[in-house]
C-alpha cells in the first residue's frame, strides 16, 4: 500500500484580500524581504537610540539636568522658567501688573492648546488603531485602502463627515438641537485638566481634582438627554432615556470606587494619589482590585462603550440619541466617544496604575510618555472588550449596577476604611501592612465577586455544551438523534 506523501497542497483562498494577506506573509517574512538600505538605516537608528539612551542615563545620573528648563522629562520646568521671565515684564493694566497677568495667562493658554492638540492628534490615530485592532480580533484586515496601511482613514472619515448635508429634523427644536454636540465636547475636554503628566505638569492641579473629574463627567448626562429630546424622534428619545438612566446609575459605583482610593491615599489631589503610589511602591490596582474593576466597568457605561453601549447599539436602536445628527455633529459625538475612552484609560492609569511613575523609571523616561503608554493600554483593553463581549440589555445593565456593584462597592468602602484605620495605627513596616492588605483584598474580592453573584441569582452555565455530532458522518439526522438518546 503506497503511503500518502506528507505534502499538503496549499490552496489559494478565494477573496483577493485573503490572498493578499497570505502572499504578504508574516511579519518575520516581511522583515526578511526588506531592502538592504532599509536595514542599514534601521541599524543606524537603533544604534543611535541606544547611544541617546546612554547619554540620557549619564546626564541623569550626573544630575546636571535636574530642574533645568531644558529637562524634557518634565515640561513643567520650562513653563516655570517662562513664568519667571514673564513676571519681569513691565507695565500695568487696570491696576494690575502686566507681568503678573501675563505670567498667569500665557502658561494657561499654552497648557490648554497643548491638551487640545494632544486630543486632536489622538483622535486622528485612535480611530485607526481601533478599527485595525477590531479587525485583527475578528480575523479580518480593517481599513487598508486609504493610505499606507489605511493610516489616512480617520482623515478621510473627518473630511467625509464635514462635507455631508446638515439635516435638522422637521419639528425639532433648533436651539436645543445645536447644543448637544457642543455640550458633550466640553466635559470631554475639561476632564483632562487635573491629570498629572509629570511631577510639575498637571494643568489644573486642583485640591479637589478627583471630585472635579466625577462632577465634570456627570455634566454630559444632560447633553445626552438634550440630544435625544430635541430630535423629535421616538427612537432617539428612547435611546437617550436609556442612556441617561444608565449613566446616572453607574455614577454611583464610580464615586464609591474612587472613595476607597481616597481613603487609602488620604487626598483628592491627583498628583498626591500618584505620589502615594510612587512612595509606597504599590499600585492601587493591587491594593484595591475591586475598585479597579468597578471603576473600569462603570466607565464603560459612562462613555457608552461595549459591553454597555445599549445607547448607540447599531443593530438595535439605529444610533440611539444621536440618530438624527448628521455631518460634523455626528462626528463630534463619535470623536467624544473616542476621546472619553482615552480619558478613562488615563484616569485608570492615574488612580490605579501609578500614573506617570513606574517605580523610578520616570527619571529616565519622560513621565508623559509613561502615562501615554498606560492610557493607550487602557484604551487597548476597551477595544478588546468591544471585540469580545456581546452587548448587555438595559435591564441587565441596571440590575448589575444596583444589585451587584453598589452593595459590593459599599462593602468595599467599609473594608478599605477598616484597613486604612489599621494602617494608621499599626507600627509595623509598610511592606508587611500593605502586603497583608493586598492579599486580604485580592482574596476577599475573588470570593465576594463569586459569592454575591450566586447570592443574587447570576448562575453560570456549568453544563458544557455537548460535542456536536455531524449528521453526515454517521448517516443522517435520525441516526444522530438515536445516538444521543433522544426520541
Amino acid at each position: 500500500m503506497s503511503e500518502q506523501p506528507a505534502i499538503v497542497k496549499r490552496q489559494l483562498p478565494a477573496t483577493p484580500m485573503a490572498r493578499q494577506i497570505i502572499e504578504r506573509g508574516t511579519l518575520r517574512e516581511q522583515a526578511a524581504r526588506m531592502p538592504f538600505a532599509a536595514k542599514v538605516i534601521g541599524a543606524i537608528f537603533g544604534i543611535g537610540f541606544l547611544i541617546a539612551n546612554a547619554g540620557i542615563a549619564y546626564i541623569v545620573v550626573d544630575g546636571r539636568l535636574d530642574g533645568m528648563w531644558y529637562d524634557f522629562r518634565d515640561l513643567g520646568y520650562a513653563i516655570e522658567r517662562l513664568r519667571v521671565e514673564l513676571r519681569t515684564v513691565d507695565g500695568t493694566i487696570g491696576g494690575q501688573e502686566l507681568g503678573a497677568i501675563l505670567a498667569y495667562w500665557v502658561p494657561a493658554l499654552i497648557g490648554g492648546i497643548g491638551i487640545l492638540s494632544f486630543l486632536g492628534g489622538f483622535l486622528l490615530i485612535g480611530s485607526w488603531i481601533e478599527r485595525r485592532l477590531l479587525a485583527r480580533f475578528q480575523i479580518r484586515t480593517g481599513p487598508n485602502r486609504v493610505g499606507p496601511y489605511g493610516l489616512l482613514q480617520p482623515l478621510a472619515d473627518a473630511l467625509k463627515l464635514m462635507q455631508k448635508e446638515v439635516l435638522i429634523p422637521a419639528g425639532a427644536d433648533r436651539m436645543l438641537f445645536y447644543l448637544p454636540p457642543v455640550l458633550i465636547f466640553i466635559p470631554a475636554m475639561l476632564a483632562w485638566g487635573p491629570i498629572p503628566w509629570a511631577e510639575n505638569m498637571a494643568y489644573l492641579d486642583l485640591n479637589v481634582g478627583l471630585l472635579y473629574v466625577v462632577s465634570i463627567t456627570s455634566l454630559s448626562v444632560l447633553a445626552v438627554w438634550l440630544a435625544g429630546w430635541s430630535s423629535n424622534n421616538h427612537y432617539a428619545l428612547l435611546g437617550s432615556m436609556r442612556t441617561v438612566a444608565m449613566m446616572v446609575s453607574y455614577e454611583i459605583p464610580i464615586s464609591l470606587a474612587l472613595l476607597s482610593v481616597v481613603l487609602v491615599t488620604g487626598s483628592l489631589r491627583l498628583s498626591a494619589i500618584v505620589a502615594w503610589q510612587a512612595d509606597h511602591y504599590l499600585w492601587l490596582a493591587l491594593l484595591l482590585p475591586f475598585a479597579l474593576f468597578t471603576f473600569f466597568f462603570s466607565s464603560t457605561a459612562e462613555i457608552n462603550r461595549t459591553p454597555n453601549d445599549i445607547a448607540e447599539a447599531e443593530s438595535e436602536i439605529v444610533a440611539g440619541f444621536h440618530t438624527e445628527y448628521s455631518g460634523m455633529k455626528a462626528g463630534l459625538f463619535l470623536a467624544v466617544e473616542l476621546g472619553n475612552a482615552l480619558l478613562t484609560g488615563a484616569l485608570v492609569a492615574t488612580f490605579f496604575l501609578g500614573g506617570y511613575t513606574l517605580f523610578g523609571l520616570e527619571e529616565w523616561i519622560p513621565g508623559y510618555l509613561i502615562l501615554g503608554a498606560k492610557a493607550t493600554f487602557g484604551y487597548f483593553i476597551f477595544i478588546w472588550l468591544r471585540a469580545t463581549l456581546p452587548r448587555f440589555r438595559i435591564d441587565q445593565l441596571m440590575n448589575f449596577a444596583w444589585k451587584y456593584l453598589i452593595p459590593l462597592s459599599i462593602a468595599n468602602v467599609l473594608l478599605v476604611a477598616i484597613e486604612a484605620s489599621i494602617a494608621a495605627r499599626w507600627d509595623a513596616p509598610a511592606i508587611i501592612v500593605y502586603g497583608l492588605f493586598v492579599i486580604v483584598n485580592i482574596a476577599l474580592t475573588a470570593y465576594a465577586v463569586r459569592a454575591w453573584a450566586r447570592a443574587i441569582g447570576y448562575a453560570m452555565d456549568v453544563e458544557q455544551p455537548a460535542q456536536p455530532i455531524f449528521a453526515k458522518t454517521i448517516g443522517g439526522l435520525k441516526a444522530a438523534r438515536s445516538l444521543r438518546g433522544e426520541a
Binding site: 422637521a170 427644536d173 436651539m175 462632577s215 444632560l222
Partner: protein
Amino acid sequence: MDSLGIVVAFYVLSAVTIGAALSVFLLRNLVHAIVLLVLSFLGMAGLFASLSADFIAIAQILIYAGAISVLLVFAVMLTPLSSRNNANSLYVGPGILAGVAIAAIVVFTAIEVDWVQLTGDALRDRSFVDTIETIGDQLLGKHILAFEVASVLLLFALLGAIVLVTDPRGVGTDVTDDADDAPGATEEPA
C-alpha cells in the same frame, strides 16, 4: 478681592447667573427653562469658586447640574404635554411683587449696612488651603449630629420618593403610557 481678574469674573458670573434666572422666569418653553436653570447653577458654581469655596463649587456642579437637573428632566417627561409650558398662573402679579420686594430689601440691606468684614491684606492673608479637610473635620467633629441626621434624612427621602412613585398596579406597568412625548405636538396656548 481687588484684583482685576476677580472683579471681571464676579461681574461676568453674576450677569450669567441673574440673566439665566430671569430667563427661567420669562421663557415659555419648559425645557428651555430647565437648560437655562442649569446654566444658572453653573454660574453659581463659578461664584462659589470665586469665594475660594472649591469643594462646594464642585459639589454644586455634581449635585445640581448633574443630578437635580436630571430629576427635573424626568419629572418633565412624566407629566403631560398639555401642561408642559412655563405659563404664569393667576397670581403672577403678587408673585412678581413679592419677588421684587424681597430682592429690594436684601439688596438695600447689603449695600447700606456697614459690614464687619475683612478687607485688603487681611482678606488675602486668610488661608483657605484645606477647605475640604476642615469641612470634614467639622462634619465628623462639631456637627456630627447634624451629619447623622442628614444621612437618615437622605435615606428616608430616597425611600419615600420610591414608595410614592411605585405604581399600585404592580411592577412593569409604564407610567409614560399616558404621557405624550413628542415635543413638536401642539400645546394649548398659555
